[in-house]
């Protein structure tokens, strides 16, 4: 892997004068993505404001809170996967321990009356995750690559099972319930309404994301990249890859713990699910779908995964299948994830020839839409037969009820899938020919190495 999207890209005309204080325009140009994200996160809840009832849509707020905490979780996962090349199958233990420690702290504040502000709870979660990272990381980072993945999987399974076994800390199957309304806020906010919690989460998500971004610029972050790309050479240079892995793991634990603390504030209940393999898999899916090579990839992935999980799952029980198919498609055709797909267009855009891709894109979009429509229809038909019908659901397409028993619908879905796939193969080769020609041209002009 030779891509360094994280590295500052060489600007075509570098300014020779290093200004001691950065002018506002430079700051804007360099960090527009951050500012756009912040504005978006602050404004979005108001788009779902229910004027009739004078309050925010509860579903939208919960969804966005989940996206915010999942984004932090996925970013912390990327500290291991993208930054250090460590594939973890037990990242959720750091998240879960963070969540549990916040639940216990909140309960303790309630019981003892010690005025610790609610605003600091994600930090408490972070410390919990940090401690867990120190303990688990000591064992896990002794190895790398596949062995590391297996150890993290083993520790994850161990802790999940232990959570069901030990009642005092984990609360067994019922989990630990808590109450975020402690009247200890610094700003005097009661946190009784979800929107208040959401804005607290936004603040913490931004803090955590900025810190994680800065971490990529530190010597540790750079050395983590080095161990990922060539761990033997890192040793020759005089670093111990194990120590780098360990530190990286601990810091990832800290940020995963922050995400866990955010989770506890939103849901006010922490169960063993927060530690379980499914949660770890979600972080993996979000990070990979979004793209592990760039910093913002996991954020995009978190939005997609949470959207599928909470939005699409309202309409179909097969959402996990779609997510799996998207994941497989990403692994096979776009190892850089969504962010990688966008980044691939940059050299073509620099040449100013992005318009030439319009026709090829239009030509592949039709067969893609046809094949996907056929596939989705087929999957939904099958799901309806086995799961939906028993739950008493009605089958409808675009609001129009269809009889799932009729042969014509099945044939139509299969034909659409088959024709779409064959057509896509034809158009796909046309697209690739155009694409490769453009990329070759970009290379010839020295825009792309």
């Amino acid at each position: 892997m030779s891509t360094h999207v994280n590295a500052p890209t060489p600007t075509p005309a570098p300014a020779p004068v290093a200004a001691p204080a950065m002018p506002a325009s430079t700051f804007l140009r360099r960090h527009w993505a951050w500012l756009a994200m912040l504005v978006l996160m602050l404004v979005l809840p108001w788009l779902f404001y229910d004027h009739a009832r004078g309050r925010h849509s509860g579903f939208a707020i919960t969804l966005m809170s989940e996206m915010a905490l999942m984004a932090v979780f996925a970013l912390s996962y990327n500290m291991l996967m993208g930054q250090a090349g460590l594939l973890s199958f037990g990242h959720a233990i750091l998240f879960g321990i963070g969540a549990y420690s916040v639940a216990h702290t909140l309960n303790w504040i309630k019981a003892s009356g010690v005025p610790i502000p609610v605003e600091l709870m994600p930090l408490v979660g972070g410390i919990g995750g940090l401690v867990c990272g120190i303990l688990a990381g000591y064992v896990a980072t002794k190895q790398r690559a596949t062995a590391f993945a297996m150890i993290t999987m083993g520790i994850g399974e161990l802790l999940t099972a232990a959570a069901l076994m030990f009642m005092t800390f984990f609360g067994g199957e019922g989990g630990i319930t808590t109450d975020r309304v402690t009247d200890t806020s610094i700003f005097g906010i009661p946190y009784t309404r979800p929107i208040q919690v959401y804005y607290l989460l936004v603040a913490w998500a931004i803090i955590a994301a900025v810190l994680m971004y800065l971490q990529t610029q530190t010597p540790l972050g750079r050395m983590a990249n080095a161990t990922r790309d060539n761990y033997e050479r890192t040793q020759f240079v005089g670093y111990d890859p194990r120590v780098i892995r360990y530190w990286q793991f601990i810091l990832a634990g800290f940020f995963a713990g922050i995400a866990g603390g955010m989770y506890c504030l939103v849901y006010e209940i922490v169960t063993f699910d927060t530690l379980a393999a499914v949660k770890s898999a979600n972080a993996l899916l979000a990070t990979y779908i979004g793209g592990a090579v760039g910093f913002f990839g996991p954020v995009m992935g978190a939005v997609v995964v949470v959207g599928m999980q909470s939005g699409v799952s309202l309409h179909t029980s097969a959402w996990l299948l779609y997510l799996g198919v998207i994941f497989i498609a990403m692994v096979m055709f776009a190892p850089g994830g969504l962010l990688g797909l966008v980044a691939n267009h940059i050299p073509i855009a620099r040449m100013g020839r992005l318009g030439e891709l319009a026709v090829p894109y239009a030509r592949i979009s039709l067969p893609t839409a046809l094949a996907s429509a056929g596939f989705i229809l087929f999957v939904e038909l099958v799901t309806h037969q086995t799961i939906g019908a028993s739950q008493g659901k009605k089958f409808a397409l675009l609001g129009q009820p269809i009889d799932p028993g009729s042969t014509i619908v099945w044939v139509a879905s299969l034909v659409a899938m088959l024709v779409g796939t064959l057509w896509l193969r034809r158009e796909g080769s046309f697209f690739m020919a155009r694409w490769n020609a453009l990329i070759e041209d970009a290379k010839a002009r020295g825009i792309m190495s």
Binding site: L87, V139, F166, G324, V325
Partner: protein, 315 residues
């Protein structure tokens, strides 16, 4: 004594089942250096195929057809999926099999429903074979032992006595050299992948009715098979065999021995009560942590002996 012998036999049956799954995975793992997350999914598919086939054609036909179908699916996954992903590196390959496992679980749920299917032991084998101090030993377990022993024998003979077996063995450690000698290494890979998946399918056919056939069976079995493979060591079928039997025995005996650390302390004169600090931890009995033992072993072996029991190189 009675408990001991019965547990020993049950442990053997379970261990041989594990071996059937793990032997294929060990070959795939040593060859490609990639853990195949979809391996246990083939086990699940085998059980479900056998269930459906046995409804219409009977168990004996299912015993032969279901593994073949699984093998074909495995070959397809290798040829059109894994091989394409290979150029993107090990992590991509691992994630690919992970995604395949996710999809297979979902497809199984969609096709056969969310709850367990009534896949039962065939009538012809549903009788007690012999009595051991009043406890009956079912004939089906003996049949499972027989099938897995036959399979072990044929794998061993196939790998050591046939030409293709020798090529496979060579390709495990020196794929480039084998390729340079004119053997089609990708095809050997496909063959091993298909055979391994077929074996997992066979394990599903005979294990699905011994245990439960439900959509969660792949994700509950998968990690244990990983443990066996890592424990046995890469590239060693013998190590894999020993690890499987050991794991089967450990898990069976752990369920039977109803003791805890508190009981051990009692021997030395400490009486643990609810008031003792850490009593929750001390009073956990062995059967309750039986499911945990494989993972404790996994972590320990990877930390202290990453090459496993008889492996030739590190995981």
């Amino acid at each position: 004594m009675e408990v001991f012998v019965v547990s020993l036999l049950n442990g053997l049956v379970y261990g041989m089942l594990l071996f059937m799954l793990a032997s294929g995975l060990t070959l795939i793992f040593s060859m490609m250096g990639v853990l195949n997350f979809a391996h246990a999914s083939a086990y699940m598919l085998g059980a479900y195929f056998a269930y459906t086939l046995s409804l219409y054609l009977g168990f004996w036909i299912a015993l032969i057809v279901a593994p073949i179908v699984c093998g074909l699916i495995g070959a397809a996954i290798e040829m059109w999926g894994l091989r394409r992903v290979h150029k993107n590196g090990h992590i991509a390959e691992l994630l690919f099999t992970f995604g395949v496992a996710l999809i297979i679980e979902k497809v199984v749920q969609m096709t056969w429903g969310l709850i367990a299917v009534p896949y039962r032991i065939p009538e012809g084998l549903n009788f007690p074979l012999f009595d051991l101090w009043g406890t009956q030993f079912p004939a089906y377990r003996a049949f499972m032992l027989l099938i897995s022993a036959l399979m072990f024998l044929s794998i061993w003979l196939g790998l050591t006595r046939t030409r293709i077996g020798l090529v496979i063995q060579a390709a495990l450690t020196h794929p480039d050299m084998v390729g340079a000698l004119g053997h089609n290494v990708p095809r050997v890979f496909t063959l091993v992948f298909a055979a391994g998946t077929a074996l997992a399918g066979l394990a599903g056919v005979i294990g699905g009715n011994y245990r439960v056939t439900e959509p969660g069976m792949a994700f509950s079995m998968g990690p244990i098979v990983f443990v066996v493979v890592v424990f046995g060591g890469l590239g060693s079928l013998t190590g894999c065999f020993i690890a499987s039997i050991l794991m089967g025995l450990i898990q069976t005996f752990a369920v039977v021995l109803d003791y805890s650390l508190a009981d051990l302390l009692e021997v030395f004169g400490f009486i643990v009560t609810k008031a003792t600090p850490g009593s929750e931890f001390l009073m956990v009995t062995l059967p309750r942590i039986a499911a945990l033992l494989p993972f404790i072993l996994l972590v320990l072996i990877l930390v202290f002996r990453p090459r496993g029991l008889m492996g030739t190189r590190d995981t």
